[in-house]
């Protein structure tokens, strides 16, 4: 096996700050890389990521159920029972199943998220954006992360879940704990597990109520899945919090990373302002490509698989990087250039294949409306900080804080 001298610690400050150099080098020099330190394969080329995600029979999604290896980065031994709980809990997410079970589960929730069904939410999203930006305008500045990107998806999801208005602060409190999934701190397990347990307790009575009296909300959709025998009660509760989690952190990152990309490319921001309505779709796709909300996702090899002359053995752990695939020069001309008119733009920001992101249309819609509103209302938007810090996560590209002003 050709060995490439590369530092296998993917959590160092420089790799967290700039994943593009590190994973871009792997993509160029060793696209199917065995990472000794974390005991996993690192896939970085666009063609390989697309091929792998479309061959779901070769690569299993049941990672939490079937991967016995310890948490990484390491956690204290005393937190191991918490990790076991988190593993069992997450194993019940529908995305952690393979076919045939995955197809039956996805069919229950898929119809709720079709492009046409999501289009009906555009008005609600626009109103929520207007309210949040009204509040920001009065102050003259905001932290895009805290004041805009975090509350927006939460308002949408709370509405989809049919959560009473007075409960929203509590749901937000739980969501903040669930967001620890994306962090690398050693003590991340406790708040994460508290979030999961809190969600189970909060959602249980709502599911009870809606199994017999369904409404048009997402918990009712899942509860009907229980009635059909596709979901267990635990799965109904876990998948409700999956919606909260998956639709939250990722959208925060799209809004923050996209805003940052615009601010760091004044020519593209100027271009966008000439026609926000007309450019919003392509610009949002470019934000998803250029600085994607999710950096990497895991699989387990379901059998021995050959890739570029290497053998991935059954049960080997694999991490595939959107970050590097989205900048693959074999697919994208000038891959490191932020170009909001890029078309076609076959980025893999939402993955690919049968597990392609269920909420992709909603995320796109939220991104389009958010960037449009920023350009229309705050043409002089600018950063109020020189330094950008990221959460120490290998999976998510999460800015800690993004202060901006409008004057």
């Amino acid at each position: 096996m050709a060995m490439v001298a590369v530092n296998d610690d993917m959590f160092t400050d420089d790799v967290i700050a700039d994943p593009y150099t590190y994973y871009g080098r792997l993509r160029d020099e060793d696209p199917v890389h065995w990472n000794e330190k974390y005991d996993l394969w690192v896939l970085t080329r666009h063609a390989d990521v697309v091929w792998m995600t479309r061959h779901h029979e070769l690569f299993s999604n049941a990672v939490f159920r079937n991967d016995p290896r310890p948490a990484y980065p390491a956690i204290p031994a005393s937190d191991e029972p918490l990790y076991d709980y988190a593993r069992e809990y997450q194993a019940d997410q529908f995305i952690q199943f393979d076919r045939p079970e995955h197809l039956e589960m996805r069919k229950i929730v898929h119809g709720y998220f079709t492009p046409r069904a999501m289009e009906a939410w555009r008005g609600f999203v626009k109103n929520a954006i207007t309210e949040l930006l009204d509040a920001a305008e009065d102050r003259g500045h905001m932290d895009v992360m805290k004041d805009f990107a975090t509350p927006l998806p939460l308002l949408v999801i709370a509405q989809m879940m049919g959560v009473p208005k007075e409960d929203r602060p509590y749901v937000r409190h739980l969501a903040e704990k669930l967001l620890y999934i994306g962090r690398g701190e050693p003590d991340r397990m406790r708040p994460f597990v508290e979030g999961m347990q809190g969600m189970i307790e909060y959602v249980a009575p709502l599911a009870n109520e809606r199994i017999d009296k369904p409404g048009d909300d997402f918990i009712s959709v899942l509860a009907q899945g229980e009635k059909k025998g596709v979901f267990t009660r635990h799965q109904v509760l876990v998948n409700t919090s999956l919606l909260l989690l998956a639709g939250h952190e990722t959208t925060i990152n799209l809004m923050c990373n996209g805003t940052l990309s615009f601010m760091r490319h004044p020519d593209q921001w100027a271009l966008f302002k000439t026609d926000p309505e007309g450019l919003a779709k392509r610009a949002t796709e470019e934000c998803l490509r250029y600085d994607a909300p999710v950096k990497s996702i895991q699989r387990l090899a379901a059998q021995d698989v050959e890739m570029r002359g290497k053998t991935l053995h059954k049960d080997d752990r694999i991490r595939w990087f959107i970050t590097s695939a989205n900048r693959d020069p074999e697919v994208f001309a000038n891959p490191d250039t932020f170009d909001i008119t890029r078309d076609p733009n076959p980025h893999v920001g939402f993955g690919n294949g049968v597990h392609h992101c269920l909420g992709a249309t909603l995320a796109r819609l939220e991104g389009q409306e958010a960037f449009k509103a920023l350009a229309q209302r705050f043409p002089n938007l600018h950063l109020e900080t020189e330094t950008i810090e990221y959460q120490p996560s290998i999976a998510l590209r999460s800015i800690k804080s993004l202060p901006v002003a409008f004057d």
Partner: protein, 74 residues
Amino acid sequence: MARKLRIRVDHNVCVGNAMCETFAPHVFQLNANRQSEAVNPEGDTEEKILEAAENCPVSAIFVEDAETGERLFP
């Protein structure tokens, strides 16, 4: 008699989610690249075909009346 349909799958957009294959299995099949192809426009009912198009998560499926050219989806 059922009207004839013209069905197109945009391969610049198709992500191989395979939901179309689930809704109208005699019309849509995945090719060697695991992208959808409309292999037989008469394989399933118009209702099933439109349901498949509606459930495409990336709106890659286009359906029209083969004779009149009337757009049926999207």
